[in-house]
C-alpha cells in the first residue's frame, strides 16, 4: 500500500506544477512518463529541446546556486521516491526553458512593436509605395473588376437557387409552428435553405475565380476580397437566422425587436470590420513579405485588431442601455448584472487584445474561451427556457382553443416575467430580462396548424426541459475543452497516450469532466422521469382497488436510490482510474466484502431480492386482501424487506418477503360466492328458482353494489339431500371486496321472499315416536325433548365457519 501512496504524492506534486505550466501555456518539452524519467536520462531531455539561450543558462545557474532551491531539491529527493522527484525536476526544467523562451518571444515582439511605433508616421507612405511596386492602379482596378464579376456570378447562381426554393422558404416562414418539435423542424429546414443559398453563392464566386489562372498577388488579393464578402455574408445570415430582426415569430432567441435589430446591425458591422481587418493584415503581410523592415505589416494588423476591439466595446456599451431600457422587470439582480456584464466583457476584450498584440496566441484563445464559456451557457439556457416556455404556452393555448370555441389565432401573447440572460454568443453577451410583453411587431397571419397530437406531450416537455439544459451545458463544456486543447495544439483523442504531465493532466481533467457530465445527464434524465411518474401517482382513495401504479410507487424510489448509488460509484471509479490509481484492488476488495456481507446477510438479501420479484410478478398490491399461510389481511405497506398485512380484526402481521412461499390474493378480478340454505322436502324448487331470479335482478339494480356484480344471483337447484331437508345452492360472481355486502342483502331478501311465498326454512326437528296411547304429562314431555335435543346436536356436529367478513 505504500508504493501507490508515494506515487500518488508524486503525481499530485507534479500535477500542481504542471497545472501551473499548463496555465502558462507551456508544454514541457520532456516527453517522459514518470517511470521512464530516471536520473541519467534527464540530460537527454535537455538535448532534445532547442539549445537554451545564454540568458536561460545564467538563470538556471543562478537558480541552482540558490541555497533554498538546493535545500528544497534535497528534501524532495529524500522524501519522495527517485522516479517521482526526477519527474518533478524534469518538468520544472522544461517549464523554465519554455518560460524563458516565451519571455524572449515576447521581448522580441515588443521590440518589433517599438520599431513599428517609431515608423508609424511613415507607414502609410511605405504601404502605398509597396503597393505601387507590386500593383499599378490599373491592376488594382482590374482586380476590383474581377471581384465584382465573380460576386455577380455567385449572386446570380444564388438568385437562381432562391427562385427554385423560395416557395418552400416562404411556406416555412409564414406558418407559425405551435409545437416545439415543429418549431425545431422549421428552424432546421429554414437554416438548410438559407445556408444552401449562401453555399451556392460561395461556390459560384469561388468556383469561377478558381477556374481562371491568376498571377500571384492578384490571386491573393482577389481571394481575400472574396473571402471578406463570403464571411460577412455568413455572419449576417447566421445572425439573421437566429435573431430574425424584423419578424418576431421567427426569432429563436428570447429578445424583443427593439433589441434584436441593433444587435443584428452590430453583428454585421463587427463581422465586416473584423474580416476586413484580417484580410488587410493578410494582404499586407503578403505584400510586404520579408522586405518589411519598418514593421508596417505589424502596424497594420495591430491597427485592425485595435479597431475591431474598440468597436466591440462600443457595441457592448451601446447595447447595454438599449437592453436595460427594454427590460421591463427592473429587479436588483438585473441591475447588478447589467452593470457587471458589460464591464466583464470589456475587460475580456481588452485582455484578449493585449495578449494578441504581444503575440501570445494560445493565452489569448484560452482567455477568450474560458471567459465566454459561462456567458454562453447562460445564454443557451435562456434560449432553451424560452423555447420550452413558448411551446408549452402555445400548446396550452391550443388546448384552450380546442376546448373552448375556436379563437382567432392572433391573440396577443403574454409572456410572464421570465428573467433570462440574453445575448448573442459570439460577439456581445449582454444580460437582459425578457420584456414582459413582446411587442407585436408583425401581424403575421397565422395559419393555425391543427396538430392536437401534442396536447398529450405537454407534460413530457417539462420532463425534457432539465435534460435539454444539461445537454446544452454538456455540449458547450466539451466543445470548450476541445477548443482549448486545439488552441494548445493538443488532440483530445491522443491525450491518453501523451506522456507529458500537462497532456496527462488535461487528459485526466477531460476524462473526469466527461464522466461527471455524462453521469449528471443520466441522473437528471432518470430523476426527472421517475419524479414525474411518482407525481402522477395518486394513492387509491377509500375502498378503491389500487391500480398497477401502486407497484411503481413502491419500486421507483428504490430504483432512484439504486441508480444514484450506482452512478456515484461508477463516476468515482472512473475518476480514480483516469487519475492513474489502480482500481482493480478496490474492485476486488469490494467484491470480497460483498461476498462476506452477502453470506452474513443472506436472509436480508433473500428478502430484498424476492421482494423485488414479488413486486415484478405483481403478486399483490397495496390495499389488497391476501392470505399467506394461515395469515390473512389487507396489504398495508411494503418496505424493502417486508410486507405488512393488517388482519380485518386489526392485528398487523409483518411478513418478510423471503418467507413468502405461496400467496393467495383474494382481491383480483372476481370472486364467486356460494350460498346455501335448507328447505323442507315438500318445497317447490321451481318457485325457489323464480324467486332467486327475481332477487338476482333486484340485486343488480342496486345503486351501491349493483355495478360490483359480475354475474348476478342464480339458483343452482338442489345441491344435495340431507336427512331432514334438501340443500338449495345459489351463487353469484362479484368484484373482489363487494361480495360481503351483496351476500348480506341476498340472504335478507331471500328470507323475506321465502316468507312471503310461504316457504319455510327447514328446521332441525326430531320426531319422537312414543309407543303409548296415554297422554304424556308435562314432565315426561320435557325429558323426551331433552333427549331429542341431545340426539340432534350429536348428529349435526358443529357447523364449519363460513369465511368471515373482513
Amino acid at each position: 500500500m505504500l508504493e501507490p501512496k508515494r506515487r500518488l504524492a508524486a503525481i499530485v506534486t507534479a500535477a500542481l506544477l504542471t497545472g501551473f505550466i499548463t496555465l502558462m501555456g507551456l508544454n514541457p518539452a520532456a516527453a517522459q512518463s514518470p517511470t521512464d524519467l530516471l536520473a541519467p536520462e534527464a540530460p537527454a531531455v535537455l538535448a532534445e529541446s532547442p539549445p537554451p539561450s545564454p540568458n536561460d543558462i545564467r538563470e538556471l545557474l543562478r537558480l541552482l546556486s540558490d541555497q533554498s532551491v538546493i535545500d528544497w531539491l534535497k528534501s524532495e529527493s529524500a522524501s519522495s521516491s527517485a522516479d517521482g522527484s526526477d519527474g518533478v525536476i524534469a518538468a520544472s526544467v522544461g517549464f523554465q526553458q519554455e518560460f524563458s523562451h516565451r519571455v524572449d518571444l515576447t521581448r522580441a515582439r515588443l521590440s518589433e512593436l517599438a520599431v513599428s511605433w517609431q515608423n508609424l508616421p511613415a507607414t502609410p507612405s511605405f504601404v502605398a509605395a509597396t503597393w505601387q511596386s507590386q500593383m499599378s492602379v490599373d491592376q488594382t482596378l482590374r482586380s476590383i473588376t474581377y471581384v465584382l464579376i465573380f460576386l455577380v456570378v455567385g449572386s446570380g447562381l444564388e438568385w437562381l437557387y432562391r427562385q427554385y426554393t423560395q416557395h418552400l422558404l416562404l411556406g416555412l416562414e409564414m406558418r407559425r409552428q405551435i409545437t416545439l418539435w415543429g418549431k425545431f423542424q422549421a428552424a432546421v429546414k429554414r437554416a438548410l435553405l438559407i445556408f444552401g443559398g449562401l453555399f451556392v453563392f460561395s461556390i459560384g464566386a469561388m468556383g469561377t475565380f478558381l477556374s481562371f489562372d491568376w498571377p500571384g498577388f492578384v490571386d491573393n488579393l482577389v481571394l481575400n476580397l472574396l473571402l471578406i464578402v463570403i464571411s460577412v455574408r455568413c455572419a449576417s445570415t447566421f445572425s439573421m437566422f437566429l435573431l430574425a430582426p424584423r419578424v418576431t415569430a421567427l426569432r429563436l432567441v428570447p429578445l424583443s425587436g427593439a433589441i434584436a435589430r441593433p444587435l443584428h446591425n452590430w453583428i454585421v458591422i463587427l463581422a465586416t470590420v473584423a474580416t476586413i481587418g484580417m484580410a488587410t493584415s493578410d494582404i499586407f503581410s503578403h505584400l510586404a513579405g520579408s522586405t518589411d523592415a519598418m514593421g508596417a505589416a505589424l502596424a497594420v494588423s495591430v491597427c485592425a485588431a485595435t479597431i475591431t476591439t474598440v468597436l466591440l466595446i462600443v457595441a457592448i456599451w451601446h447595447m447595454t442601455p438599449i437592453i436595460r431600457r427594454n427590460a421591463k422587470t427592473p429587479t436588483d439582480l438585473t441591475k447588478r448584472q447589467s452593470h457587471f456584464w458589460p464591464g466583464y466583457l470589456t475587460i475580456l476584450a481588452l485582455m484578449a487584445l493585449a495578449l494578441g498584440i504581444i503575440n501570445a496566441r494560445e493565452l489569448m484563445e484560452t482567455v477568450i474561451i474560458i471567459g465566454l464559456v459561462f456567458p454562453t451557457i447562460r445564454v443557451v439556457n435562456g434560449c432553451i427556457d424560452h423555447l420550452f416556455f413558448l411551446s408549452e404556452h402555445s400548446s396550452r393555448k391550443a388546448i384552450a382553443q380546442s376546448e373552448e370555441k375556436p379563437l382567432l389565432a392572433e391573440t396577443s401573447e403574454t409572456l410572464p416575467n421570465v428573467q433570462q440572460s440574453v445575448a448573442e454568443p459570439s460577439e456581445a453577451e449582454i444580460p437582459a430580462t425578457l420584456p414582459a410583453t413582446p411587442e407585436v411587431e408583425s401581424g403575421l397571419p397565422v395559419v393555425a396548424e391543427e396538430d392536437m397530437d401534442d396536447v398529450e406531450q405537454v407534460s413530457s416537455l417539462e420532463l425534457y426541459h432539465p435534460v435539454a439544459r444539461r445537454l446544452a451545458r454538456f455540449v458547450i463544456l466539451i466543445g470548450a475543452t476541445f477548443l482549448l486543447l486545439s488552441s494548445w495544439g493538443g488532440n483530445l483523442l491522443s491525450l491518453s497516450e501523451s506522456q507529458t504531465y500537462s497532456g496527462r493532466l488535461v487528459g485526466i481533467i477531460a476524462d473526469v469532466l466527461t464522466a461527471v457530465l455524462i453521469a449528471d445527464l443520466v441522473w437528471v434524465w432518470a430523476k426527472s422521469a421517475i419524479d414525474r411518474r411518482l407525481a402522477n401517482y395518486v394513492p387509491p382513495q377509500g375502498s378503491d382497488a389500487p391500480g398497477p401504479e401502486a407497484r411503481m410507487a413502491t419500486l421507483l424510489p428504490l430504483l432512484r436510490v439504486t441508480l444514484m448509488v450506482f452512478l456515484i460509484v461508477i463516476v468515482a471509479l472512473t475518476v480514480l482510474s483516469s487519475m492513474g490509481i489502480n482500481i482493480a484492488p478496490l474492485i476486488a476488495g469490494a467484491g470480497v466484502l460483498g461476498i462476506a456481507i452477502g453470506f452474513g446477510a443472506q436472509a436480508l438479501v433473500k428478502d430484498i431480492v424476492s421482494g423485488i420479484f414479488f413486486l415484478i410478478d405483481d403478486a399483490f398490491r397495496i390495499g389488497e386482501y391476501i392470505e399467506v399461510g394461515d395469515l390473512r389481511g389487507t396489504v398495508e405497506s411494503m418496505s424493502i424487506r417486508s410486507l405488512r398485512v393488517r388482519h380485518h380484526l386489526g392485528a398487523i402481521h409483518t411478513i418478510p418477503f423471503g418467507e413468502l412461499s405461496s400467496l393467495t390474493n383474494y382481491s383480483r378480478d372476481w370472486v364467486i360466492m356460494r350460498l346455501e340454505f335448507r328447505v323442507p322436502f315438500d318445497t317447490d324448487v321451481k318457485l325457489i328458482k323464480k324467486i332467486v331470479k327475481k332477487i338476482g335482478a333486484e340485486l343488480q339494480e342496486n345503486e351501491v353494489y349493483g355495478p360490483g356484480i359480475l354475474q348476478t344471483l342464480k339458483s343452482q337447484g338442489v345441491r344435495r339431500m340431507e336427512e331432514f331437508n334438501m340443500v338449495i345452492g345459489v351463487k353469484f360472481m362479484a368484484k373482489p371486496g363487494a361480495q360481503w355486502l351483496i351476500r348480506r342483502d341476498a340472504y335478507q331478501k331471500l328470507r323475506d321472499a321465502f316468507e312471503a311465498s310461504g316457504i319455510s326454512f327447514a328446521q332441525r326437528n326430531v320426531t319422537v315416536e312414543v309407543v303409548s296411547d296415554k297422554e304424556l304429562d308435562a314432565e315426561t314431555k320435557k325429558s323426551i325433548a331433552g333427549a331429542a335435543q341431545q340426539a340432534v346436536e350429536s348428529a349435526a356436529g358443529v357447523p364449519a365457519a363460513a369465511p368471515d367478513e373482513p
Partner: protein
C-alpha cells in the same frame, strides 16, 4: 396606357441589352468571335429605324420612371421596388460615358469602334471605365429583369416557362461577364506580347528620318493630338451635360413630389386588420403602402400596379366611405369577379377616419397559385381560404 407604354419601351431596351450581352458572351471563345458576332447582334441597332426606336424607347422609359417616382407616396417600399428605382436612376449616369464614347468614335473620330479597341480601352487604357461597364451591365440587367418579371409572372403561361426562363436570366449576364473577363485576358496578353516585341525589335526597325522630316512629323503628331484632345474634351462635355441634365430632372422630380406631398392633409387614419394588429397612421398612402410601412405581410404579386388583384381586401367597416374605384382597379375587380366591398389595397387611399379590412389572399401566394387556387399544393392557401370562409 402609361403602363403599356412603359412595358413596350422597357421591352425594346431589354432586347437591345440582351443582344449586346450575348455578343459579349462570345468572348469566351475569342476576341475575333466577338467581332464576328457583332455583325449580327449589335451592328443592326445602328441602322436608322432601330436606332430611332432605341432612342425613343430610352427617352420614354426615362421620363416614365421619373413620373413614377413623382407619384410615390412613400419611399419605404419592398426590396424589389427599391432595387428597381435605384437601378433605374443609376443607369443613365453610369452609361453616359459609354454611349457618348461610342457615338464620338463613330461621328467625331470617324473610326469603327471594334470590340478589340473597346476591350483594350476598358481593360488597359481605362480600367475604371471597365469597372463602370460591369456595374452598368449588372444594374441594367437587374432593372430590366425585375420589370419583365413583374409583368410576366401574372400571365397564365408563366408557370410553364418560368423554370426555363430563370436559368436564362442568370446565364446571359454571367456568360457576358465571363466573356468580358476572358476576352480581356486575351487583350492584355496581346498587349504584353506587343510590348515585348517592340522592345526586342524596336531599335532596328525605327526608320531613319532627316531632321526636317522629324520636325514635320512631330508637328503633325502634335496637331493631331491637339485635335484629338479637343474632340475628347467635347465628348466629355456632352457626357457631363447629359449627366447634369439628368440630375437636374431628378432633383426637379423630387421637389415636385415633396410639394405634392406637402399639400396632402396631415390627418390620421385608424386601420384595423382582421387577424392582425390595429394601427394608426397618416393618410395619403395606399393601403398596400401602409401595410408595408408597418411590416405587415400583404400579398402583392404585381407590386402595386393594380394588375394581379392579390392585394385585394374585404372592407368590413369604413367611415367615411372609401373613394370609388378607379378604372384600373375596377377592371381588375371585374376580371376577378369580386363581390361588393372588395377593393385593391394598392389603389385604395383611405381617408381620415376608421377602417376595418381583411386581407383575402395569403401573403405567400405564388404566381402558380393564381390560376389553380383549388388544387395548388400550397397548403397555406387552402387553409387560408378555409379560415376566411369560416370567419
Amino acid at each position: 396606357m402609361i403602363r403599356n407604354l412603359r412595358m413596350l419601351s422597357g421591352t425594346v431596351l431589354l432586347v437591345f441589352v440582351t443582344a449586346h450581352l450575348l455578343n459579349m458572351a462570345f468572348g469566351l471563345l475569342s476576341v475575333d468571335a466577338v467581332e464576328t458576332a457583332r455583325r449580327f447582334l449589335t451592328a443592326p441597332w445602328s441602322l436608322l429605324p432601330l436606332a430611332l426606336l432605341l432612342m425613343a424607347a430610352m427617352l420614354v422609359h426615362g421620363f416614365l420612371g421619373l413620373f413614377s417616382l413623382y407619384q410615390r407616396n412613400t419611399l419605404r417600399m419592398s426590396g424589389y421596388d427599391r432595387v428597381q428605382l435605384i437601378s433605374g436612376l443609376l443607369i443613365i449616369p453610369l452609361l453616359a460615358s459609354h454611349i457618348v464614347g461610342i457615338a464620338a468614335a463613330k461621328n467625331l473620330f470617324g473610326f469603327d469602334p471594334t470590340y478589340r479597341i473597346i476591350l483594350t480601352y476598358f481593360w488597359l487604357d481605362a480600367p475604371l471605365e471597365g469597372l463602370r461597364q460591369v456595374f452598368v451591365v449588372v444594374i441594367a440587367w437587374i432593372h430590366g429583369c425585375i420589370g419583365m418579371f413583374s409583368w410576366m409572372r401574372l400571365k397564365i403561361w408563366w408557370n410553364r416557362v418560368s423554370w426555363f426562363i430563370y436559368p436564362l436570366v442568370v446565364a446571359v449576364p454571367v456568360l457576358a461577364l465571363l466573356g468580358f473577363v476572358e476576352a480581356g485576358k486575351d487583350v492584355i496578353a496581346e498587349r504584353a506580347l506587343a510590348i515585348t516585341q517592340q522592345m526586342n525589335t524596336g531599335p532596328y526597325d525605327a526608320p531613319q528620318l532627316s531632321a526636317a522630316e522629324e520636325i514635320a512629323q512631330q508637328e503633325a503628331n502634335a496637331a493631331a493630338a491637339e485635335v484629338n484632345r479637343e474632340k475628347l474634351a467635347f465628348s466629355k462635355r456632352i457626357m457631363w451635360s447629359i449627366i447634369f441634365v439628368f440630375a437636374f430632372l431628378l432633383v426637379l422630380t423630387l421637389l415636385a413630389r415633396a410639394i405634392r406631398l406637402r399639400k396632402a392633409p396631415d390627418a390620421m387614419t385608424f386601420i384595423r386588420y382582421m387577424k392582425g394588429p390595429e394601427i394608426n397612421t397618416q393618410v395619403g398612402k395606399s393601403l398596400l403602402e401602409i401595410s408595408r410601412l408597418h411590416d405587415l405581410p400583404h400579398a402583392n404579386l404585381c407590386r402595386g400596379r393594380g394588375r394581379c388583384g392579390t392585394c385585394r381586401v374585404r372592407v368590413i367597416e369604413a367611415s367615411p366611405a372609401l373613394p370609388a374605384a378607379g378604372e384600373i382597379e375596377q377592371q381588375t375587380l371585374d376580371r376577378l369577379d369580386c363581390g361588393p366591398g372588395v377593393r385593391l389595397a394598392c389603389q385604395v387611399v383611405p381617408l381620415a377616419g376608421t377602417l376595418a379590412i381583411e386581407r383575402i389572399v395569403p401573403p405567400d401566394i405564388t404566381p402558380a397559385d393564381l390560376y389553380s387556387p383549388n388544387q395548388s399544393d400550397g397548403v397555406a392557401l387552402t387553409q387560408w381560404s378555409a379560415e376566411v370562409s369560416d370567419a
